[in-house]
């Protein structure tokens, strides 16, 4: 697997829902098509909210890596 280098990492650990998703939406809004953004969230709601938004917004969810205390969501701006 080729490692994807994010252009921006959002450390939203400790932020309550929907902070991590909103920070990701803001980064996608300001980014360029093709940019890869990584969002770190310790909020349980992000596990469902972030993939749901990525699917709705037709962006690309590259990976979700679960750590014991938080999850890393890697998203590519597809459009």
């Amino acid at each position: 697997m080729i490692a994807v280098q994010p252009v921006k990492t959002i450390d939203a650990r400790g932020m309550a829902c929907p902070g991590p998703l909103m920070a990701l939406i803001g980064a996608i809004r300001q980014g360029k098509v093709g940019d890869v953004i990584e969002a770190w969230s310790s909020d349980a709601g992000s596990r469902t909210d972030i993939p749901a938004w990525v699917a709705k917004a037709k962006q690309e969810l590259v990976s979700v890596v679960e750590d014991t205390r938080y999850a890393k969501f890697t998203v590519r701006k597809a459009r």
Partner: protein, 378 residues
């Protein structure tokens, strides 16, 4: 020599912080408020002006009258802060030196960031905007009204939900509810940022026939075609469009390199001290904290900043830390309201909407000028 404290901004947080710091320090401190207008504006009133429930006259008062006599006031715009020299440069020339600085500079509307927003939409985030929207509603013949959000974070998170509830009642009174649709376009997959409050308000939206469009983050407005589009790739046609404009931190924060890429000041969530500069604190909308940007937040943060600064000057330990406390009312129309109270550790549980909270909000609106800025309510 008295310690010099400068407070930038004469809103809820700045005014209360200045009064409390002055009171706590007595002759050991000299507090100066710098504000570009010298007028204190009660922004929660904009919504009531929009729906014709209040006129704009009670929304502004001379800031000088709200400050203790010992607090100095400078009516000018701060254009630059130099944290190394501890100076604030003023727009009309000259500068002020400080030992401690409180950034209570609020947020700034960035309507120009969304294509077509200025030409194609209304908002109630300024008195001028509220009056313009009030007039548009008075002559509205019926049709599709869309309420959307063009950027997060924004001031007063409940406002879009409150607006659609109050609008629904307003359209009934005008006799055009049957000829109109109301759509709340939410940036999230629910009506409101806080899940528990969402669960309370969504059934009421349904009962009132208010449509909910989810995951709709406004990208652009086409004022010729009367269509608003989202970054999720959807569009909503409208006859009257109301949008919460994008918000940024104050220009002086951005120009002085004191904030993040949107101009929000990074602070400790407990002490509200700037992450890089020991002598700078921030409160209210100005901070980057992931909590509500609202007068209520500023109100609860001001005593913390006063306590932190007074303790540093006196060489003691501050008695107060900020625990994330916020308390907001949420009007649900038809003379009912609920409340949203929470802190860092406790998510909100909103009571069922009732007339009690609606009248409590009205009482608070009326009592504001003689209670909050002076620190008479905690």
């Amino acid at each position: 020599m008295a310690t010099r404290v400068i407070v930038l901004g004469g809103g809820v947080g700045g005014t209360l912080a200045a009064n409390l710091i002055s009171k706590q320090l007595g002759s050991d401190g000299h507090v100066t408020v710098v504000d570009p207008s010298g007028m204190h504006v009660y922004q929660p009133g904009f919504l009531y002006v929009t729906l014709g429930q209040a006129n704009g006259r009670w929304l502004a008062q001379d800031e000088r009258h709200l400050l203790r006599d010992e607090v100095d006031m400078v009516i000018d715009r701060a254009i630059r802060v130099d944290p190394a020299q501890r100076t604030v440069t003023l727009d009309r020339g000259g500068s002020l030196g400080y030992d401690y600085l409180v950034l209570a500079t609020g947020s700034r509307l960035a309507r120009e960031e969304i294509p077509g927003l200025i030409q194609g939409s209304h908002d109630f985030y300024s008195l001028e905007g509220a009056i313009r929207l009030r007039e548009a509603l008075r002559s509205f013949p019926g049709g599709r009204i869309v309420m959307g959000v063009a950027g997060i974070p924004y001031k007063c998170p409940p406002a879009p939900v409150e607006f659609v509830f109050m609008l629904e009642e307003y359209l009934h009174k005008r006799g055009i509810r049957g000829k109109s649709t109301i759509t709340l376009a939410s940036p999230l997959n629910r009506a409101f940022t806080i899940e528990t409050t969402s669960k309370l308000v969504q059934p009421i939206l349904e009962q009132r026939g208010i449509e909910l469009a989810t995951f709709f983050n406004v990208e652009a407005v086409d004022p010729d075609k009367n269509v608003v589009t989202s970054i999720e790739g959807e569009e909503l046609p409208y006859d009257l469009l109301v949008l919460v404009p994008p918000h940024r931190g104050a220009k002086v924060i951005e120009d002085s390199g004191l904030g993040d890429e949107r101009g929000w000041v990074p602070v400790s969530r407990a002490t509200l001290q700037h992450e890089k500069f020991d002598t700078i604190f921030a409160i209210g909308d100005a901070t980057n904290l992931p909590i509500s940007k609202s007068g209520s937040t500023a109100h609860f943060e001001a005593p913390v900043v006063a306590s932190q600064i007074a303790a540093r000057i006196r060489g003691t330990t501050a008695k107060e830390n900020y625990g994330g406390r916020v308390m907001c009312f949420l009007e649900t129309g038809h003379r009912q309201a609920t409340t949203i109270r929470f802190d860092y550790e406790h998510p909100p549980v909103s009571p069922r909407p009732s007339p009690l909270w609606h009248y409590a909000k009205w009482a608070f609106n009326r009592a504001y000028w003689v209670t909050v800025p002076q620190g008479r309510v905690a």
